[in-house]
């Protein structure tokens, strides 16, 4: 079982179960996690599923690819830990992952 914790900007946290092969964005939508809009539906085309990956997890999660890095230009308050959650594939290695949603997606 893979568990992902979503924290919001006010510190509320929700832990849900994720399916391997799905994405961190899809998991959030399926579980009704607020703060992730995913306007484009996961095409890496809108930057409204922006999350901050917990410092302890940045290495496991990895860096964004070029296309995602480009799209992060459209997000706000981008940090070194910023990722678009539609581009993070859920794997067993991500069990326990913590991400924080920004105050606004835009």
């Amino acid at each position: 079982m893979i568990r992902i914790t979503y924290k919001d900007s006010e510190g509320h946290s929700r832990t849900v179960e994720a399916q391997p092969g799905s994405t961190v964005m899809e998991t959030a939508l399926r579980e009704g996690i607020p703060g992730i809009e995913a306007e484009c539906g996961g095409a890496c085309a809108c930057a409204t599923c922006h999350v901050y990956v917990d410092e302890a997890w940045t290495e496991v999660v990895g860096k964004p690819e070029q296309m995602e890095e480009d799209m992060l230009d459209f997000a706000f308050e981008v940090r070194p830990t910023s990722r678009l959650s539609c581009q993070i594939k859920v794997t067993d290695a991500l069990d326990g992952l913590i991400v924080t949603t920004p105050p606004r997606q835009g």
């Binding site: 306007e39 095409a43 606004r104």
Partner: protein, 354 residues
């Protein structure tokens, strides 16, 4: 009916049978279904290209649920649709938003005036709203109080270059819009500053090189960082608060700001057309896909009805049925005969294959 059209005729009004709002896949296919019934159409879209979300959001992404196509990309289906509707010679009005819609006819004989923000006026017997998720509009940065500056010193598009003469202009972003305006406004503005969060750009390399040369020659400023706040009074910007790459926060004096953060979908002026709305969607019946106003149809993602699925294939079906009813309005005296493209000589003649 003809008399009504003539009485209200205005010299520069574009007269047509149908105006289609939105040139996404469903708007395009509506041209086909209307065309088979001899209904001529003009399409209006806010994007500078056809294809709607398919072309703007996922041109390269595969779609797996278009009947008859096990796999096709967003751009692929748009290209195919353009090919398919070619015999019907639709007219496209791209880069324009429908700003207003007036009903002028009656329930039996509808007639509409459609106005765009490019000051075009259309007169049509039916209007097909195929607006998808609404119109693509510039994304506004979520900066507290930004609304107060919009239109005065914060601009999401440039309408008149002269407006920026001898002004200090802060341009935010790293794509083609941002870089193009850096280069185009540079000769006019007092000082151009480009603010971008990283030292890499999505924009065309030659624009980036031109910008770097200007910055190296001291003719403009390039700041690595992100926008954090705005300072000013009564809509007049005085400075932007910037968070630099190293985390330092500082103020940058400026008269104007042009943020380029991509596009987002907004319902837009459709909300003001006097149509029934339900959660930003247009309720329709499932026989004709007509809205609360006779003669105005809504097809594709913009409509809602019990069991609605936001699928391209549903939109295709909706367009076919809407066209049947549209025929009644456009040709009230003609009988509509149901025919197949496989066997009807008349349909094949329209398609240019018989």
């Amino acid at each position: 009916m003809d008399n009504i059209v003539k009485t209200d005729a205005v010299a520069d009004v574009i007269k047509t049978d149908a105006v289609i709002v939105g040139a996404g896949p469903i708007g395009l296919f509506a041209v086909f279904e209307l065309g088979l019934l001899d209904i001529k159409a003009h399409l209006i879209d806010i994007l500078p290209k056809v294809g709607g979300q398919c072309a703007e959001l996922y041109p390269e992404k595969p779609i797996y649920d278009i009947p008859g196509f096990p796999i096709i990309t967003g751009q692929g289906i748009v290209d195919n649709l353009l090919h398919q509707i070619k015999p019907f010679g639709p007219t496209f009005h791209l880069g324009e938003m429908v700003a207003g819609l007036e009903a002028m006819g009656t329930a039996e004989h509808p007639l509409f005036r459609v106005h765009t923000d490019a000051e075009k006026t259309f007169e049509a017997k039916v209007v097909i709203i195929a607006a998808g998720g609404g119109s693509f509009q510039p994304k506004k940065p979520p900066i507290a109080g930004i609304e107060a500056y919009e239109g005065k010193s914060v601009h999401y598009a440039v309408r008149k270059i002269e407006q920026f003469r001898e002004r200090r202009v802060l341009i935010v972003g790293g794509g083609d819009s941002a870089l193009d305006w850096v280069l185009n406004l540079h000769p006019v503005a007092k000082r151009i500053t480009l603010l971008h969060r990283r030292n890499e750009f999505r924009a065309a390399p030659h624009s980036v090189n031109a910008m770097r040369e200007l910055a190296a020659a001291g003719k403009m400023d390039f700041i690595l960082g992100q926008i954090a706040g705005l300072k000013g009074e009564a809509g007049e910007l005085k400075a932007a608060t910037i968070r630099g790459e190293d985390g330092s926060v500082f103020e940058h004096p400026t008269d104007d700001m042009l943020p380029f953060f991509g596009l987002t979908m907004k319902l837009g002026p459709i909300a003001d057309w006097g149509l029934n709305l339900h959660e930003n969607l247009l309720p329709v019946d499932t026989e004709k896909f007509e809205t609360s106003t006779p003669g105005i149809f809504a097809v594709g993602d913009i409509n809602t009805y019990p069991g609605k699925l936001k699928l391209i294939l549903s939109g295709f079906h909706e367009a076919a049925l809407a066209a049947q009813k549209a025929h009644r309005y456009v040709y009230p005296d003609k009988k509509l005969l149901f025919q197949y493209t496989t066997s009807s000589t008349s349909l094949q003649r329209k398609l240019g294959v018989a």
